[in-house]
Structures are given as structure tokens and as C-alpha cells.
């Protein structure tokens, strides 16, 4: 039983790490209807920029600020060069454009900073904590707290600020938002920049876990099933989806794995998401649109 709880907690904490990446997706999907596959590359780009600056002797917060600036510039460029010319195209086209985008960002990141593997130390010790016979990772707890803080900041941003309110209007109805004079392009840029910020935070935490290297961009594959289960449009859903995926994949690996041969963590979340979809075709928190003909 203890072991079960330990696996469960470990899974829930790991799940929050997936949620961090998924939140970036949700923001962009909500505001511009783009399923942004390049989110993983943005995480890589942010982490690589940050760690390269750090290694060149730039202080922590200055590096953070410069990286954030870079993400904003990136967001601006994406809006200008990619999104604007593709307005009103089918979602599938936009999705494929983000595939192209992920290639560009990955190439750019490596062209700028090289392909070496970097270690990243955020100064959080990772000696395990014993709590009631259960092992807890300090780092994971820190990451969970960060995720929580991030959600709080984002919800404040969306509920209290002008830009947040216009953003929700855009998410609700693009045409109506346009009609009341909201500048769609500006909203998009802001959202991509915020998603860049989320990518930076995710990049730092993941980078500290894995080392900063190319495979950071693969975390996107862990975030996809989270999105499917949580729904594309709900930040709360991204958190819940992350928890569900994290916990169930760990439990499955430990208890189901030995029966069918282990190493099932790659496809298990997808199969789980698929089963969810067959029951609820728009995720737990998504709403199914009624087709009007």
C-alpha cells in the first residue's frame, strides 16, 4: 500500500510537469485556434538560450529577462510571418505550419547555441524527503508549486487585466471580438509571448531534470495526451489531464508493465486518451459543439 501511494504521488508530481507544457498549448489554442506543435521546440529554445547565457557568466535573473525578451521577439515574428498570412485557413493547415515552425526553431536554437548537452542547476537540492515512510522529491514539490503559481498568475492575467478580458472575448467568438474593436493580431502576439514565458518556465524545470539538450523538444509528446484528456481549451483541464496521465502511466508501468513486458509508458497515455475520447469525444472539460447544418 505504501508503495502504491508512493507511485501514485510520484506519478501525480510527474504529471504536473506534463501539465506545464500542456498549458502553453491551451493558451495558444484558446486564442488562435492553432494546435501548436512547436511548443516543445519553444521549450527547447528557451532553455537552451537561458543556459547558454548562464554559462557565459550572465547572472540568473538577467539571463531570465533576456530569454523572456527573446521569446517575445519570437512570438512577434511568428505572428507576423506565420499566423497573419494564414488567417482563416483550416486548422489542419495551421497545425502543419507549426510543424514547419518547430523545425525552424530547433534549427535556430542549435545554430545559435550549438548542440552540446548542458547541465542546469537551479539550486534546488534534490535529496529525497521522507514523509511518513513515503519518499518525496524536493524538486518535484518545487515544480508542482511552480505549476500552481503559474496557473494562479495566468488566471489573474485573464480575469483581471484588459488584455485578458479581450483574450477571453477572442476565445469566445473571434468575429464578435473583431466587431467590438479588439485587435486580433495584438492578442495573438501577447498570447504567443505568454506561451513563450510558460515555455521558458517549463524549459527551466525540465532542463534541470534532464539536462538541456535536443530531446527537451520531445516533451511535447508527453503533453499531447494530457491535452486530449483535459480538453484543448481549459487550463484547469490541462492540470487535471496531467495528473490523470502522470498517475495512471506510472501505475500502469509498475503494475501492468510486468505482465505484458514493460516499457509501456510511451503508448499507454495515448491508448488511455483514446479510450477517454471514445467515451467523451471532446475531453473531460471540453464541450462538444453541436454541428449546425
Amino acid at each position: 500500500m505504501d508503495f502504491f501511494l508512493e507511485v501514485l504521488t510520484g506519478g501525480l508530481l510527474a504529471g504536473l510537469m506534463y501539465s506545464l507544457v500542456a498549458i502553453g498549448f491551451v493558451l495558444i489554442y484558446k486564442a488562435s485556434g492553432v494546435f501548436n506543435f512547436a511548443q516543445g521546440s519553444m521549450v527547447l529554445f528557451a532553455a537552451l538560450t537561458f543556459v547558454s547565457l548562464l554559462e557565459r557568466g550572465v547572472p540568473f535573473w538577467v539571463s531570465f529577462a533576456i530569454t523572456l525578451l527573446a521569446m517575445i521577439v519570437l512570438a512577434w515574428a511568428i505572428e507576423r510571418i506565420v499566423l497573419r498570412p494564414l488567417v482563416n485557413r483550416p486548422p489542419i493547415t495551421l497545425f502543419m505550419a507549426t510543424l514547419g515552425l518547430s523545425y525552424i526553431i530547433e534549427g535556430l536554437a542549435q545554430a545559435l547555441w550549438g548542440a552540446q548537452v548542458h547541465g542546469l542547476d537551479l539550486g534546488i537540492s534534490d535529496e529525497p524527503l521522507e514523509v511518513g515512510g513515503m519518499l518525496l522529491s524536493q524538486f518535484d514539490l518545487f515544480a508542482a508549486a511552480t505549476a500552481g503559481a503559474l496557473v494562479l498568475v495566468l488566471s489573474l492575467l485573464f480575469n483581471k487585466t484588459r488584455i485578458g478580458i479581450s483574450l477571453r472575448a477572442v476565445a469566445d467568438d473571434q468575429l464578435a471580438a473583431l466587431a467590438v474593436g479588439i485587435k486580433l493580431q495584438r492578442i495573438w502576439m501577447v498570447v504567443w509571448a505568454v506561451a513563450g514565458f510558460v515555455g521558458l518556465v517549463a524549459g527551466l524545470l525540465w532542463g534541470a531534470r534532464l539536462g538541456v539538450q535536443f530531446s527537451l523538444s520531445l516533451v511535447v509528446l508527453k503533453a499531447l495526451p494530457v491535452l486530449i484528456i483535459g480538453g484543448f481549451t481549459s487550463i484547469g483541464g490541462a492540470i487535471a489531464g496531467g495528473l490523470i496521465i502522470g498517475a495512471s502511466e506510472k501505475l500502469a508501468e509498475v503494475y501492468l508493465g510486468p505482465m505484458i513486458g514493460g516499457g509501456i509508458e510511451n503508448w499507454f497515455p495515448y491508448v488511455l486518451a483514446l479510450l477517454f475520447l471514445l467515451v467523451r469525444p471532446a475531453g473531460i472539460f471540453g464541450e462538444r459543439a453541436i454541428e449546425r447544418v
Binding site: 453541436i290 454541428e291 449546425r292 447544418v293
Partner: protein, 257 residues
């Protein structure tokens, strides 16, 4: 008015998330007649068409078609029974040519299997020619020959409406459902479309149920008018009868549309 009913709706109700869109509606449409559904926006006209050909499934009620009763209709099943339709917002296959769109309308008449088609053997070659011939007849009938090979998405609105009618007619339907076939047209185009509908009824004996807002057109065109308001039926009869029905006047005509 023709005597034998082709379509018979009994006590149909439909709701979305608890909101009633159609409330206990019954009426019949006779063989070969043109029946118009009228009523203000949100009266449930399109929903009713969607129920008839199985896009929506009603919460209760029975659909009688051609002497048989159905609790629910699936859209594929409706097509097999000979129900074809057009849509309010044009549901053409925008990436395909006019000819291909019309040919898809004949999909239920195709006899050869896809394997025969892949190897161009067996029934495939003659089948394809037959379908093509029929499709060309419809194209001639609706006078859209010159756009035969154009991609539908590039055509103007009025033409698209005509192509959609062509696709529906290609199925050789017994019942044709038209959802605002003349919406957004000028009076000349409306006249043209009206004459196509009348010709269809005369030449092929097709029964037509249509939704239209232009009362003038409705009164000229239809044998039978059903008036809906807030999901309920408020009138049912010949154009003249409906015109005189006080409920209808109150609910609909009275608002001077």
C-alpha cells in the same frame, strides 16, 4: 392536393440541452406536392428537416415515409430510402469539381465495387459511363454545363446553390428537402430557382419540402404550407387557408415580414 401521403410526421419533439427546439409537431406531405415550411427565425424549421433526414434524432415521435414508420432515421438510411436535400449554408464538397459533386449525388446508384474500379474491370467501365451520362443530364437540366469542370469553391453563391440542387437531384430522390434554396438571391435568380423547383416536380414527380422566407415565392410555388413558431405548429393547409388563419397572422404574417 395529392391524396397519398409520402411523409407523415407524428408528434416529433427535439431538444438541445433541455431547450425544446421542436415541440410535438405532426403533419403530412402528399405524394408529388410542394410543401413549404415557414416561420420566424428559430422556429425550428431547419431542425425539422434535420430530423426528417436523420442528421438529428428526435427525442420522441415517429417518422412515416412511404408507408413505413421509423422511430429514428439515420442519414444514410434516409438517403437509401430516397430522401435528398440541400442545406441552408451550402454543404457542397468545395474542393471538388461541379461534375464530381453531381456524381457523388449518384453514389447509391453505383453498382461496381471499388476493386473493380481500381483495376477498371468487370462492371466498372460501363457503370462509370452510365453514372456520367445521368449526371450530365442533370447538369443540362439545371444549365450549369459551362462550369462542369470548375472547382465548386471558386463559384459564386447563386451557382453553388444550383450545384447543390443538382447534386440532390442526381440521387433521383422521391423526397427533396430544400433549406432556404433562394436565400440571398435577387428576384431574377429567385424566379429562376423557382422554375427549377417546379420543373423538378413536374418532370420527375419529386415531392418537395422547402423552407423559404419570401412569402411571395412561397405562396406562388407551394401546394401546401406548414407554419411553425417557437417549435410549435401554428398553421397547416393550402396557401390560401394559411393566409387566412388568424393564429398564423398573429404569429408570423402579423409581424409584416
Amino acid at each position: 392536393m395529392a391524396a397519398i401521403p409520402l411523409l407523415e410526421l407524428q408528434d416529433i419533439s427535439l431538444s438541445f440541452k433541455g431547450v425544446k427546439a421542436i415541440n410535438d409537431i405532426s403533419f403530412t406531405v402528399g405524394q408529388g406536392e410542394i410543401c413549404a415550411l415557414i416561420g420566424p427565425n428559430g422556429a425550428g424549421k431547419s431542425s425539422l428537416l434535420n430530423v426528417i433526414n436523420g442528421v438529428y434524432q428526435p427525442d420522441q415521435g415517429v417518422i412515416g415515409f412511404n408507408g413505413k414508420s421509423y422511430r429514428k432515421m439515420q442519414s444514410h438510411q434516409a438517403a437509401v430510402h430516397g430522401i435528398a436535400r440541400t442545406f441552408q449554408n451550402i454543404a457542397l464538397f468545395k474542393g471538388m469539381s461541379v461534375l464530381d459533386n453531381v456524381l457523388t449525388g449518384r453514389n447509391l446508384k453505383v453498382k461496381s465495387s471499388w476493386i473493380e474500379q481500381a483495376f477498371n474491370i468487370g462492371r466498372a467501365p460501363s457503370d462509370e459511363s452510365t453514372q456520367r451520362q445521368k449526371a450530365e443530364e442533370i447538369i443540362d437540366f439545371l444549365r450549369i454545363n459551362q462550369w462542369r469542370n470548375s472547382i465548386v469553391g471558386t463559384l459564386p453563391y447563386g451557382l453553388q446553390k444550383r450545384v447543390e440542387l443538382a447534386r440532390a437531384l442526381a440521387a433521383e430522390p422521391r423526397l427533396l428537402l430544400l433549406d432556404e434554396p433562394m436565400a440571398g438571391m435577387n428576384s431574377e435568380e429567385k424566379a429562376e430557382m423557382s422554375s427549377f423547383i417546379l420543373d423538378t416536380q413536374r418532370e420527375f414527380g419529386t415531392t418537395v419540402v422547402l423552407i423559404e422566407h419570401d412569402i411571395g415565392v412561397v405562396m406562388d410555388l407551394s401546394d401546401h404550407v406548414v407554419v411553425l413558431d417557437y417549435g410549435k405548429k401554428v398553421g397547416d393547409g393550402t396557401p390560401d387557408e394559411v393566409r387566412k388563419n388568424p393564429d398564423v397572422i398573429a404569429a408570423y404574417l402579423g409581424t409584416k415580414h
